[in-house]
């Protein structure tokens, strides 16, 4: 390796670039930054399952640096126009593939139509991660203890995948297969996630617990519900951090639906959660503690959601 001492500014920059290369940790890979989704699809297909899409890189790069993942090519979608938008489309909110967490957190459409997502964004890592990481990238990474997959599962989300074979809509229930496993085909990538917008009269509650602010959740409970004639209606319940995938808990929704969300109902919810959840034990928490925590968070979230719903409920009665 020849290094040039001194010289012009340009030479110094070249030698600095060489220094960075010396310190790289990943296995070798090629890199391409297409400008259209068709070029991305072509590159991904050509990689024959060995390619990886990179947007924010906040989950992928650590895995690549640990050599847990060794893609032959990184396909950078940041230069594809039009993927960095959040749009309201009828009663669905569309979030494009290069929308960063900080954009989601600050977005007016999210704040108005998905206040629970706005709230959830407060728990997403730290500023540096939020500045780079993307909503869709986190969904594709399918970590069962992160907020975006949970919101996608919980809010009736659909993942829009794209490949040379065309567009495919994957319901969230089918998208999240296991911990860090999704149902994308090797030649498919995510161009957008669509979520149900919340009704204006929805009450919502979001409770996440982590050892430090911004860490992966030990458990998290989210709910939306409505108050119709003093009873809970159209209840949704989602959880994360307590299973191999983000969870939508229809059984729990059934317990709450049609009730006045009183403390005995909350006790039933907590008891039932302890019965149906099968969380992991790891160095941060035991399965038993996570089950206990789930009941605590469920009660807190449901109380908050019900309190919000009640103030809006009678307005909604026409």
């Amino acid at each position: 390796m020849n290094r040039h001492a001194g010289g012009t500014k340009r030479v110094e920059e070249v030698s600095f670039a060489g220094e960075v290369a010396d310190d790289m940790k990943p296995a070798q890979f090629d890199y391409i930054a297409p400008t259209t989704i068709d070029e991305v699809a072509a590159a991904l297909a050509a990689a024959e399952g060995e390619g990886k899409i990179i947007a924010g890189g906040q989950s992928l790069m650590p895995m690549i640096n640990f050599r847990l993942v060794k893609p032959t090519i990184l396909i950078d979608i940041n230069r594809v126009a039009g993927l960095d938008r959040i749009e309201l489309h009828g009663d669905r909110v569309r979030i494009g593939a290069t929308v960063r967490h900080h954009m989601t957190a600050a977005d007016a459409i999210i704040r108005q139509h998905l206040p629970i997502v706005h709230e959830a964004m407060h728990h997403v890592a730290h500023m540096t991660v939020r500045n780079r990481g993307t909503f869709c990238g986190s969904v594709a990474h399918a970590d069962p203890a992160t907020e975006m997959p949970m919101m996608t599962r919980f809010l009736g989300g659909t993942v829009i995948a794209y490949s040379q074979r065309g567009r495919r809509e994957i319901p969230a229930a089918e998208f999240f297969v296991g911990s860090l496993v999704n149902s994308l085909e090797p030649d498919e990538f995510v161009i957008r996630v669509e979520l149900d917008a919340m009704r204006p009269d929805a009450g919502w509650g979001f409770e996440e617990f982590a050892k430090r602010h911004g860490d992966f959740a030990l458990a998290c409970f989210a709910t939306t519900l409505h108050c119709v004639d003093g009873m809970a209606s159209d209840v949704r319940v989602g959880m994360m951090g307590v299973g191999e995938t983000p969870l939508r808990l229809e059984e729990i929704e059934g317990i709450i639906e049609g009730t006045d969300v009183s403390e005995p109902v909350l006790d039933m919810v907590a008891d039932r959660l302890a019965g149906i959840l099968m969380p992991n034990t790891d160095i941060h928490a035991s399965a038993d503690y996570r089950r206990h925590l789930s009941g605590v968070l469920a009660k807190r979230a449901l109380r908050a959601a019900w309190s919000r719903a009640k103030t809006k409920g009678f307005k909604h009665n026409e």
Binding site: A21, A27, H126, H284, S286
Partner: protein, 798 residues
Amino acid sequence: MIHQDHSVELRPKLVGKRVKRTEDPRLLTGVGQYVDDMAPAGMLHIALRRSDQPHARILNIDVGDAFSVPGVVAIYDASDLEGEIKPAIPASRMPGYYATPIWPLARGKVRFVGEPVVAIVAESRYAAEDALEHISIKYEPLPFAIRQVDAAKDDAPLLHEEAGTNTIIRREFKRGDVDAAFEDAAVTVKGRFRMTRKTAAAMENRSYLAEWDSRKQSLTLYTSSNIPGVIRDVLSGCLDLPGTRMRVVAPDVGGSFGGKGSLYGEEILVCALARKLKRPIKYISDRLEDLSATSQAFDELIEAELAVTKDGMLIGLRADVIGDVGAYSIYPWTAALETVQVVSFLPGPYRMEHYRGRIQGVLTPKPPTGPYRGVGRPSSTFAMERLIEMAARKLGMDPVEFRRKNLVRAEEFPYRTASGIIWDKSAFQECLQGACDHVDYPALLRETDKARKEGRWIGIGLASYAELTGIGSRISVAPGMPINTGTETSKIEIDATGAITAAFGISSHGQGLETTLAQVIVDELGCKLEDIEIKHGDSSLVPMSSGTYASRSAVLGGGAATLAARNVKAKVLRAAAYLMEQSVEDLDIHDGIVTSRNSNLTMTIKEIATAVYTQMGRIPRDQREDLTASETYDPYLGTACSSTHLAMVEVDPETYSVKILRYVVAEDCGKIINPMIVDGQVQGAVAQGIGAALLEEIVHDDQGQAVAASFADYLVPVASSVPDIGIVHIEADLPNNIGGFRGMGEGGTIGAPAAIANAVSDALSHLGVSVETLPVTPERIFQMLRSKIRPLDASPQP
């Protein structure tokens, strides 16, 4: 003696001022120079294959196609280095101690997950990492005991067969008749305390670069170490090079907290390979390597019991400690550093006659334990202060009153503790009072009672402790260790331009010593702050040095600087007296200007330097002397630094998360050189102590694997984990030490875990549980409340 008059006394001193750190402009604007910033021409890089086995015999190493990777220069295992180096032996005069030799690469066996086995040298780190993938190592797994209680058993598999046992350390400290004291005691309390294993987690990972100079046949090692002098001395032996051909430089270093305060095999490795290949060799550890192979902390089981009279006087303490020392001794501190300090400091700042502390240090297949900010005392203070609170509670006394009764009083100093440590004189009682006054303790108690009536789980906890800092030559920092930790040298030179260089053997790595030592010199010498350059972190500066550790550098470095500055000042004044035709007694220096009280004549230090050095014959040759001095300071005993921490916490009754509501530290570090730096040290160390109390834990599973492999799993405190910290400074005078300085860089980590553990215990006291393991995580509180198998105190009430 220097002539003193009122005008001198009235002049402003820099010692005691909040002088901005002179090292900060370079460090904060990105122009500091760390090891990884250096890239000499022709430099090669090392990547290491580390063991994925806790205990196994190496049967075969196959390099496969590793040499096919472009840029790979060489691949080494231990057998390639046998003739190149001698191992480092962390010897000790402790009876029965077995010092495991330190080799850079595993020989025959591996003994922890993360131990280096194969080194690949390549033109780039990237190529070296690529080549690592081609290496396959065939192991024969060997049985092992991963927990210290199992490793200490007679039939446990041996980690080092040569030692004949896993228990390589056994010591006992005792005074009086402790068992009799317990028989007479009105009240006894006991517990089984455990501070789990930690790692220092400095911002900069360990980094090494060795350069071989073929012309001089000499080596220079650039290292992220905080003990470059110790490293030079030991490498001189390992590599058989005299000090003139073996230089060790610690450039800017991004923190150590103890983790960089020992010799590492990688330091031997880069040196040996630079000499062998005659090219510069760099090794930079990544975070995974740092978490799995940098020396770790604590990990003792402490069974301790305290005996108290019915009116609340401490009479006896007995403790049995099993330390999990990891797989190897470290150089120079030995494997006994942490555990021996636990029993040395367990009696704390209290008056107590009868004591017995026994330790066993047990080898386990984990990274070696070593220095970590506070060494031993975070664990001993945790155990003792929990016992103090438990005893106070059992007696129905307020824990503050109980401490006040038992802390050594001003008139009792110097006080020899039951373990043999001498507390010279320190503000034990005043710190307790200072912390209580700061928070208005009675009001805080009322606030707590009120909150509890509302169903909140609130508690207050205190921790009082004393530590020995600035230790001189009377005691070795580590037991029986054959290196000198008791002296420090300062070499001050005024050159021909009037600039002042002060060279030290210390090695600042975040402490701000370039600023504080310059402040001391300014006051002694009378020069300007900006005219001084402080040099440190380089073994070539003074004949013998060790480095910066054990809260020693302000005490020893400050003392040496004072002596050398006085000496140089005397020479400047003698020259000035001749040049100005004044009597020496009438002269003084301030702001770099020599003035006389009998004349309006002045001369600058620069003018005097020019006269001395440049203007031949200006001073007669029999009177002319270089404006230089080298002085060594030995404080002999060392000095006590003491503190009381007070924490108020709230435990969530449902999630069991712990929130710190109030925190105050009242500390006596003697004469404060720079209050801003002292505040920074307190804040940083308390943050680190909060990590130990609530978050941080190195976990090895039953298979011997290190489970916390990144900062997603090893949880260090973040900004939201740390409350506002109130700080009360108490400056007790210290007539026996030059300058009156006490060391204070470690205290926060000593007091915080104990204070928080006490506060959490207090918050949970109505539930009948007691915090005995740290970190006290939500999981641990959940488990304690669920089982309640341990009553608050096992011994019967008389």
